[in-house]
């Protein structure tokens, strides 16, 4: 500031800059191009050689070439996603290393690394990564502290890192206040760079191949906790996400986008509703999961005519929301409109004649539509259908091929076939895609739904009842519904095939399974309490815990905590700066002198205990023995035994002095 020459970079800080930067960059492996690491190694090498005096700093030509080449390389491979933006930042930090000679350059590097350390959270949010990142922050703070440490004594690294840890701990309370109370506003602008990492999950087109692939993934889809109504029976756990209404002959897709209704305000669930809370992983889509019949409770969540929940923006971050399920048997709200009827009866011309024939044949045998549907379901049960994740490739008329030829498939095949047959005889039907079941954590009372729980089933319209759920898969593989995919595939052995190292695969190893479940519990709590704290949660927290009904009040609290923070700091500073309190012995001695002052014995600076006591004896000779012994005791304690820290001795001495003081007061009285 006032110095003309910028402060130079402290030599001892450089290794720490390189160390902390390496640590931060290591966390980005897989997210930034590998050649950047090569660049980093080169930069570290060059800078270390400069540090040792073997090499000079790169001149401006070299720097220009490196900067241009690096930028070109990043732009060439850029896809305008989060990864390339991060690569840019990282490269900037690396190139800055090459010209880091002053303290101010160190600030730039360290601050950039703080930012990169924050960016890591956009890719990874698990508790493990959080702990790793904590160490990164700690290293970066240590680097900063070290750069301002002039102490060259041994043990300075220990002191520096300790100081960094102390700083982090001391700032924790204020951080928590801000974390919970700082108003969480929505994204400032919509266009944010997204990661190009493929998100696993459902898609709005049902390809049997997709679902087969999903079934191999143990990745988390969402977790659910239920309110006091508890968890429904496992067979009822149908998590709806999509309605696939359009059949092309090769696949089912969601064509029709029905009207959405958005609630005006947040609502409490009624007693007739079962409410549950879902923490959903990022899907990159705007659909949410719910059980039918669903009701929305939150302002930001809309519901469409198909009873499906939607958000306004695609879910790119883990989302936590509350949903209700109506438990009362509600009558259908309305009849199908012509448009809807047409939609749910849509079929491509000229496909699957045999299936159509079968449906018509069964229709003639049945009196009502319900009976017909029963017969269709029974058909799956009675015929030799089998459940497999490795179906054979089907021909042009795939449903015909499946029903009469291969007779083996999984949910997508069964649901597609049933819907097709129902539609072919004029019954409105639709395929619903979502998840079924989940793993119940008994201790923590939550349900974990994974990608391999992906499922497809059928909903069929009955004017008296509305949409009814039919799951033909249950007819074929009851285990799939009652116990989950693993049981259903027990015979075939194809569960998590190819995922050798997935812990899901080793559920039978008891301790491993136990470990897996506890890890899952930790992650669940982490997600529930930390990661999914958004403005809804914040509002709830403010209202329920702090009793606020307006978010401005939290600003008052923040302001108040700032005041408290500075008050505490001032008090601590004052405490530190105040004159050191005299020891108890000196206090007692001073009291004695104050008392003796009233007897006319003025204390003199520079007087020894013996000298003072001799004067005291002259003033009150009747206490000679007592004064003598006290002086003797003090002298012995302080000088002969040299034990000023001996508490017992000190106590005894203080007692004598107090006793003497009292005697002197008695005399006066």
């Amino acid at each position: 500031m006032t110095t003309k020459e910028p402060l130079s970079l402290p030599r001892h800080a450089l290794p720490w800059v390189l160390l902390s930067q390496s640590y931060v960059l290591m966390q980005l492996v897989g997210h930034i191009p590998y050649w950047i690491y090569a660049l980093f190694v080169l930069a570290v090498g060059w800078r270390s050689l400069t540090h040792m005096g073997r090499l000079s700093y790169p001149n401006s030509y070299i720097k220009a070439v490196v900067v241009v080449a690096t930028s070109a390389a990043i732009i060439a491979t850029s896809r305008f996603d989060l990864e390339s933006a991060t690569a840019f930042l990282v490269a900037a930090g690396i190139l800055k290393l090459l010209e880091m000679r002053h303290l101010k350059d160190l600030y730039v590097v360290v601050f950039l690394n703080f930012f990169i350390q924050g960016i890591v959270f956009l890719f990874e949010q698990s508790i493990g990564y959080f702990l790793i990142a904590l160490i990164g922050v700690w290293l970066l703070i240590s680097t900063l502290v070290l750069a301002h440490y002039s102490d060259s004594q041994k043990g300075r690294y220990k002191r520096t890192t300790k100081m960094a840890a102390q700083l982090m701990l001391l700032s924790l309370p204020m951080m928590l206040v801000l974390y919970f109370l700082f108003p969480r506003i929505g994204p400032l602008w919509g266009l944010t760079l997204q990661s190009n990492k493929a998100l696993t999950g459902l898609s709005d087109q049902m390809n049997p191949a997709d679902i087969a692939e999903l079934s191999q993934s143990a990745e988390l889809a969402f977790r659910v906790t239920f309110d006091k109504q508890g968890i429904p029976a496992r067979q009822e756990l149908y998590w709806r996400a999509l309605v696939l209404d359009h059949y092309t002959g090769r696949q089912w897709r969601a064509q029709h986008t029905p009207q959405l209704q958005w609630p005006m305000s947040d609502q409490e669930p009624t007693p007739e509703q079962r409410s549950y809370e879902i923490i959903q992983e990022a899907t990159g889509q705007n659909w949410l999961f719910s059980m039918a019949p669903a009701a929305t409770l939150e302002r930001g969540i809309g519901i469409n005519e198909q009873g499906l929940l939607r958000t306004r923006r695609p879910v790119f971050q883990r989302k936590r929301y509350q949903v209700a399920q109506d438990l009362t048997e509600a009558l259908p709200a309305k009849q199908l409109s012509d448009f809807e009827r047409r939609t749910y009866l849509q079929l491509p011309k000229g496909y699957n004649p045999k299936a159509q024939a079968l449906a018509q044949e069964l229709q003639q045998q049945s009196a009502t539509e319900l009976e017909l549907l029963d017969k269709l379901m029974q058909y799956f049960y009675q015929q030799e259908f089998s459940y497999t994740l490795k179906p054979q490739i089907l021909g042009k008329n795939e449903i015909d091929d499946f029903l009469f030829n291969t007779k083996a498939g999984f949910c997508a095949h069964y649901a597609g076939a049933l819907t097709f047959m129902a539609r072919s005889v004029g019954i409105p039907a639709r395929v619903v895609a979502g998840y079924q079941g989940g793993e119940w954590n008994e201790t923590e009372q939550y349900l974990t739904v994974r990608q391999y729980d992906a499922h497809a089933w059928v909903e069929i319209w009955q004017p008296e009842f509305g949409w009814l759920r039919y799951d033909p898969t249950a007819m074929v593989a009851a285990d799939r519904i009652e116990f989950g995919l693993e049981q259903a595939l027990a015979e075939e052995g194809s569960f998590m095939e190819g995922q050798l190292f997935s812990m899901q695969k080793y559920k039978s190893v008891a301790w491993l399974n136990k470990l897996r479940i506890s890890l899952d519990t930790i992650n669940y709590q982490w997600q529930r309490w930390v990661l999914s704290y958004d403005n809804q949660r914040q509002k709830g927290f403010l209202e329920k815990v702090l009793g606020f009904n307006h978010w401005q009040q939290s600003l008052y609290i923040i302001a108040a905590s700032f005041i408290v923070f500075f008050l505490i700091a001032s008090v601590l500073l004052w405490w530190r700066l105040r004159a050191a309190k005299p020891s108890p012995f000196i206090q007692a001695w001073q009291k004695l002198q104050t008392r003796a002052q009233k007897l006319g014995v003025q204390p003199k600076t520079g007087e020894t205990v013996t000298q003072y006591c001799n004067r005291l004896i002259q003033a009150c000779p009747q206490h000679e023995a007592l004064i003598q012994s006290t002086a003797q005791q003090i002298n012995q304690w302080l000088y002969q035994d040299d034990s000023p820290d001996d508490k017992a001795m000190q106590e005894a001495v203080i007692e004598s002095i107090k006793h003497l003081t009292k005697q002197l007061s008695v005399q006066k009285g």
Binding site: P582, I586, W589, K604, T605, G606, E607, T608, V609, T610, Q611, N635, L638, Y639, Q640, D641, D642, P644
Partner: protein
């Protein structure tokens, strides 16, 4: 009656009414330091030094410093001597008066700085180097230098840095009326001093010096000492403060005082206070030139003993 008490008793026979000074002089010897006596002529400086030498059974020499004194007069010279029988000649070293256990350097400020520094170097190093040969001085080696405080023409007062070489600097002062009468009634004190009984052997003396070093200084006493040092350095308005050597000198003297005064094995603040004027005043007199008050008095009045 301990050895020290009898030594003091003997000394007080010849130097009447100066118990404090004799104790200080003895302390100075036991602390392996050298003594500077600043006083007018005829105050008994010679008597004290001579008495000390005879009571302790030490060899004694006296040099009267004059303006024409040469270093060789103090240290000794090599003289070419011819053996009458063989006609062979050789240089033989004739040791100067410095080769004695107690040396009285009378009126040191009358000699030229070169002569002074010859003695001071010998004091500092306890050895003498003459014409390239190093000869050790006897142990103990105790110099009592006297200086006439009244500055007169043709004198060379010892500079500050040289004063530091003397552990203590004392004044004898006029005797009390009583002592003066005894002095007048009695015999020549110098004669008595010559005939004093030797009370200590060399071994005993060295043992006493060892005992001085064993005196324990508690942390409370050291705190007090450090407060004194800090006071001279930072608080009092002196131009400079007590050097680390000065601080060590104070501690060493106080330890010797503890032994001489009551044979104690530990230090009390009174010991420091007792030797303070002798140790500190001559070191800081110029630093505190503006003050009328003596430095030691200033310290005693301003540095708290307990804190």
């Amino acid at each position: 009656m301990t050895a020290i008490q009898s030594v003091l008793g003997q000394l007080n026979q010849v130097i009447l009414g100066k118990e404090n000074q004799t104790k200080l002089a003895l302390s100075c010897l036991l602390a392996k330091g050298h003594l500077l006596i600043e006083d007018l002529p005829g105050m008994g400086k010679t008597t004290l030094s001579h008495g000390l030498a005879s009571v302790l059974g030490l060899s004694y020499n006296r040099i009267q410093f004059t303006s024409d004194l040469l270093p060789a007069d103090i240290l000794g010279v090599s003289i070419f001597e011819q053996d009458p029988t063989s006609q062979q000649g050789s240089f033989r070293f004739h040791p100067g008066p410095v080769f004695s256990q107690v040396l009285l350097a009378d009126e040191i400020n009358r000699a030229t700085p070169k002569a002074q520094s010859a003695l001071l170097e010998a004091m500092e190093e306890a050895q003498v180097t003459i014409e390239g040969e190093t000869r050790p001085l006897p142990t103990p080696f105790f110099v009592i230098a006297t200086q006439n405080p009244i500055s007169s023409s043709g004198t060379f007062p010892l500079p500050e840095s040289q004063l530091d070489r003397f552990l203590m600097c004392i004044e004898l002062g006029y005797p009390s009326e009583q002592a003066e009468r005894l002095l007048l009634e009695g015999k020549d004190q110098r004669e008595i001093a010559k005939r004093l009984k030797t009370e200590l052997t060399l071994d005993k003396l060295l043992a006493l010096q060892e005992q001085v070093e064993q005196v324990k200084a508690s942390s409370s006493v050291l705190d007090y000492l450090q407060r004194i040092v800090a006071y001279t350095r930072y608080e009092a308005g002196y131009q400079y403060g007590l050097s680390p050597r000065g601080a060590l000198a104070l501690l060493r003297s106080a330890k010797a005082w503890a032994v001489v005064n009551d044979g104690r094995e530990y230090l009390v603040p009174e010991d420091i206070q007792a030797v303070l004027p002798a140790v500190v005043d001559h070191r800081l007199s110029q630093a505190a030139a503006s003050n009328k008050q003596k430095v030691s008095q200033d310290i005693l009045q301003h540095v708290p003993v307990l804190q």
